[in-house]
Symmetry: none
Subunit: 217 residues, 4 copies
Amino acid sequence: MKTKAKRPAGKGSQQQKRAEQRAARREVILAAALDEFAERGFAGARLDDVARRAGVAKGTIYLYFRDKEELFQELVRSALGPFVAAIEGALSHDLPLRVVCDRLASSFAREVLGTRRKDIIRLVLTEGRRFPKVAKFYYHEVPERAFAAVRALVKRGVARGEIADDKLAKFPQLIIAPALVAILWDGLFSRFEPLDTEALLRAHFDLLFKAAERRAA
Amino acid sequence: MKTKAKRPAGKGSQQQKRAEQRAARREVILAAALDEFAERGFAGARLDDVARRAGVAKGTIYLYFRDKEELFQELVRSALGPFVAAIEGALSHDLPLRVVCDRLASSFAREVLGTRRKDIIRLVLTEGRRFPKVAKFYYHEVPERAFAAVRALVKRGVARGEIADDKLAKFPQLIIAPALVAILWDGLFSRFEPLDTEALLRAHFDLLFKAAERRAA
Amino acid sequence: MKTKAKRPAGKGSQQQKRAEQRAARREVILAAALDEFAERGFAGARLDDVARRAGVAKGTIYLYFRDKEELFQELVRSALGPFVAAIEGALSHDLPLRVVCDRLASSFAREVLGTRRKDIIRLVLTEGRRFPKVAKFYYHEVPERAFAAVRALVKRGVARGEIADDKLAKFPQLIIAPALVAILWDGLFSRFEPLDTEALLRAHFDLLFKAAERRAA
Amino acid sequence: MKTKAKRPAGKGSQQQKRAEQRAARREVILAAALDEFAERGFAGARLDDVARRAGVAKGTIYLYFRDKEELFQELVRSALGPFVAAIEGALSHDLPLRVVCDRLASSFAREVLGTRRKDIIRLVLTEGRRFPKVAKFYYHEVPERAFAAVRALVKRGVARGEIADDKLAKFPQLIIAPALVAILWDGLFSRFEPLDTEALLRAHFDLLFKAAERRAA
DNA sequence: CATGAATGAGAATTCATTCAT
DNA sequence: CATGAATGAATTCTCATTCAT
């Protein structure tokens, strides 16, 4: 970290290394920020602690982010790209709706609930109101895109007769509601009453699709 | 309320008036606090502003609440009693499950979404993590009690053949999930895409009960 | 306290009773104030606590004392009159100096160290600097008068050949220094090392008078 | 001290300079705090004023001291080490007791009464009661050590026949009492009646030692 | 680039004092 | 007179942000 790595490498590689180091450090700070924000909320998190956790000086944070708010925004931004891609990808496979849903559920459990991403989502849900820019970005990046995909999925399912009506296309929220509740429950009440998220989601889809299947039958 | 009624009143009535005034002022402060907390979150709300909004001096708040945190706790506490009572009340009537649900939905829309209570719930969801006492109180006061009522309702429905299985008894969260999502959506994304909560809830129950009805059929 | 004592007594007796009650209440407040000031110092004492301890409402204090400072002043004032009188009285008896001193010592132990008066003295020593009026009053009331008496005593002792020189007349502080130290020690260090004040004072006088006696011899 | 000496200095010297600056600033704050505390007492002193007097920002104080109380503790702590060392040093010389005492007296006048140290002692005497940690530290650091030294001195004096009895070994307070009284008097009453401390201490030792000498004679 | 000391605006809390009842 | 609720100035402490090194 303190080695100057002076001569050798050509200029291009030099610059590239610099850029990589910069990116790496950015990631370290973002990771530390996520920990602190998730633990204490936006207002409660101290940049001092973020810096300590990231192993950098406090001032360094300001070399990568304009201010605390931008750090928060970037935190959200940085964690969402890969996330929605997965959802959109599910459409490309030509599988039965129920199968797609089951895969999404387990992918959600694996990729979101099992990782720091759930903390990001929780942060958006809990702090988003005071950060319109974050809410806006998140809206366009996640629900808007995800719901578009879901609507397409549902319509295909209806067309194929896999599902009876298009209520779910009108209210895609109905599909993901239990997932959000699971995230919130986990942070608030799991001490008192643990919640088996996978079972919850499975039960949810069972109910939704039993309805549909019967109807279609 | 503002009549002076000086002489006649005996000591008792005097004291009573005092108590009433005290209670009234408490309410005023709580209402102002709700506004500020809902707007800015716990950390962001300034007691100065709460006081100004309540029309009292800053110090006065401390005559009614030990500190900011207790003010927050009492805020939650004060708004919940009447709320669950309604849910529990729904059980006492001997109506078909679907009817009960519809009533709960419209009662929720009227009594929660249409009032400040939705802000309280949002506050619990967004701030509860950093206030374990609030989360605990809320858990015991709302979901625990409400879910007990829901489970009983569902079981009665199953026994009567109104509904096919007891998944909903196992995961009452599935029933209220859309309601919570509606509250959060309202605060976060309604600017971009308004959400018709009543239609959402109706669609939700339609799906749940179509499943059940068909099954039962 | 709450009885109105309406009709009977004549006007004079009425007024007298009023005055007595007033005086009594004043005393109660002063006693409570002494407790609180001694415990917490001037700045640390809360009038709220003084009132509670005195069993009166906070506002009542202001019916008897202009403000906190005057309460403190009156506290000092009220406790000192009787005190110096005793010292001055010691002169009137025509006893040998050593006997007078021994009497003063035991009287000091009894009347000061054994009572709340030691707290008053401590308060003057510890708070007097910030209350010039108190310091001034105390100076004129206690050391000035007491030292005048002491000087007279010493001079008489010298004249009678009971004591060799008049250093003690020049520095009466030398006579009372150990008493003050005892008061301070008591409040600060007695936890770590108790101090037998009477023995201390006796040893002190032994030293002073052995010197004198030998010299005189 | 203010020279920039930029380039040459190596890392070590850099760090050293940092450390020195830190220490210097700490001293500046302590000095300012002493002024304010001595003037207004602990409770009355405002950190705002301490900062202004020290020429730093309010927040800076908190980079050096956890809170107001620790600032006070460190104030006392920082001023006492060198002080007792002097007392203990007096023992090492093999001089007659009276000479040692005279030296201590003039050293006390020079090193304590003539400096800010007297203010520290006064602060301990006046505020110590509400800061048990300060009282404890001071007790172990000053009277305990000083009295041990005094006891040894006195015993040596007795053994050498310079002094008659060991009352002073039992109550070393008797030796320093006038010094403390001088400090208090200075702060409280010197406006009304100045006190020549050196003469007071000399007179004190004269009395003590005349007694002893005669006895020994 | 990186550092971390310094800054100072800002917020919670306290408490002497007032005043309507 | 007595009360005690209300006031708001004053004070401590925090922490995002800046900047000299």
